[in-house]
Symmetry: C2
Subunit: 366 residues, 2 copies
Amino acid sequence: MNKKAILLIGDGISTADLRYASGFSAPDDFIFMQFGDRKICSVSALEYNRAAATVLPGVEVFRSTSSHVETVKDLCGTLGVYEVTVPGFFPVGIAEKLKLAGIKVIVSEERLYPEREFKHPDEVAKIITSLRAAEAGCRRAIEVLQESDISADRSIIWKGKPLTSEILRTEVDCTMLRLGMLPTDTICAGGLQAAQPHNTGSGVLPADYPIVLDIFPRSAATGYWGDLTRTVVKGTPSDFMRRAYDAVLEAREFAKSCIKSGAIPAEIHRCAENILARHGFHTGHNDQGDFGFFHGLGHGVGLEIHEWPRLNPRTTTPLQPGVVATDEPGLYYPDHGGIRLEDMIYLRPDGTAETLTKIEDFFTIQ
Amino acid sequence: MNKKAILLIGDGISTADLRYASGFSAPDDFIFMQFGDRKICSVSALEYNRAAATVLPGVEVFRSTSSHVETVKDLCGTLGVYEVTVPGFFPVGIAEKLKLAGIKVIVSEERLYPEREFKHPDEVAKIITSLRAAEAGCRRAIEVLQESDISADRSIIWKGKPLTSEILRTEVDCTMLRLGMLPTDTICAGGLQAAQPHNTGSGVLPADYPIVLDIFPRSAATGYWGDLTRTVVKGTPSDFMRRAYDAVLEAREFAKSCIKSGAIPAEIHRCAENILARHGFHTGHNDQGDFGFFHGLGHGVGLEIHEWPRLNPRTTTPLQPGVVATDEPGLYYPDHGGIRLEDMIYLRPDGTAETLTKIEDFFTIQ
């Protein structure tokens, strides 16, 4: 008889494996154990009723009455488990205490649920729901920029007041909230802030500079994410940034044409990089920091915003049907700002690619 | 010379110690090491510029060029560190690889930054900002309920349509977004759903039953949380729930009068429990699950929504100046619904308590 169990502890919000395996998530950590065919959640009294009503079919719900360590020890005793396999992110403090209690703890070098990379149709539908909300948020941003004017000092003015990143973000996020999404660090970064890919943006948005709108809502109900980036200019962009935009758009579309079953992510990344370089946009590092295209081309999306596969120069495992990933080349120059354009792609069961993103590309907005 | 370092790895969003010590947070994990007077963040190229502009004074920012494990090994080599102290939640996978590389890994049984429990005035100000946003969200919910009508079948109707938990939550959350908050699982639970303290609520809200509004926004800018709960009824509550409300309010106010420097949380919790019992509201467990007052009276709030101190029956360490904590007794009955009333309290440097929450208590709304 198999005496080894998978053990997860977390909240199911930041611990996607836990939500995937149990169907449950909670504000506080809980325990999940998979032992042969048995799947067990052990949750606090506070969560018991809700967990029992929420878990996936076949998952048993127990009530934890002591610490996580004691509860796991009890579960192992009851089930006859003497060895647990845990993920690399498992808390070392609990792992050490389990070892002291005589339970062997194996840290898996592999993903425990590698099948998460390959989405079922119902998962794709959930991702699309979140992506559509991102698109609605993006449309709201475009609408606000269309309604805006440009002041004499080339600031963007909306409803008579300077339009800030914060105001624009709120408009995007409220639109998505109404669609059942949890907005999460929506990026509305303009001017030179957009040269930092993770800068969410702050202060008055300048005209004539690209504004990166990177919108990644998570469904409150399902936990699945959507991910979308558009870059727009209110006013007149510099020739440099106009050429950068065209190069990024070409790189994204060419990469998209390469994404199919059997394709190697590292090669697709390099294709995108080469297209940018051919347009004269090189990647490097100087006193001001990094410039050019210095992040991966894309990443899988599901119960995590960044999950497998990684479309970067180091990934040599061929893509397979079921993958949902982003295609998002970018160019960033501390003296000019930044451009990023991101679509989501799904590899259908037949291995062909489907672009899930439906919203058009915009650049200049009048 | 001290050759031991504190080592943290995380995103600074879910890893509050990291944000507290470095001043930085990011969507992806980064490394923080504290070695004597030196504090070092090692972040990806993607985050370097933003980190350098954001970290606390005195924190050095390095650029990670390899895996977390390799980066930590390099840092230890450069600094001459052979032993790292990590928190219990540190990832076991990284801990094991560091051990294999000859670095001693000590899992701290203690908090690494216990001073987080005692807030500086600027931290209290940040918490108050988030609490005020929660109050604004709560006022919006009250406003919506005031504008609502009750249908013949005793549903709540707003703007001609059934008012759902989801719609009410969106109104609360949009109000808070406009104030720079990240809304997080705002609870608007009515009817029997409110008998589950963490049920966020779904579907049409019924009249005559208490609606629990538990609102805990996090400032996008500072990372500090606010926490507020009010329970309201549109229509006419049952006598049972009216008595439960009065009992919970009395318990909260009495507990509040006990919260001061030197007080024992376990004793305050028991006082609240005794008041509820004296009103005939007992705590227990039956076939339907738990009923009565089955969670802790309160918890510290700061860079985590639930942090030290825990005001529950197990905490016997006296409260000290600087604590910011919630006081939130509740009563939950699967046949009746739930009541929870939550204020936030600050223990001033002189040891006296200040109620940070300013919004009044409401029960029935016409």
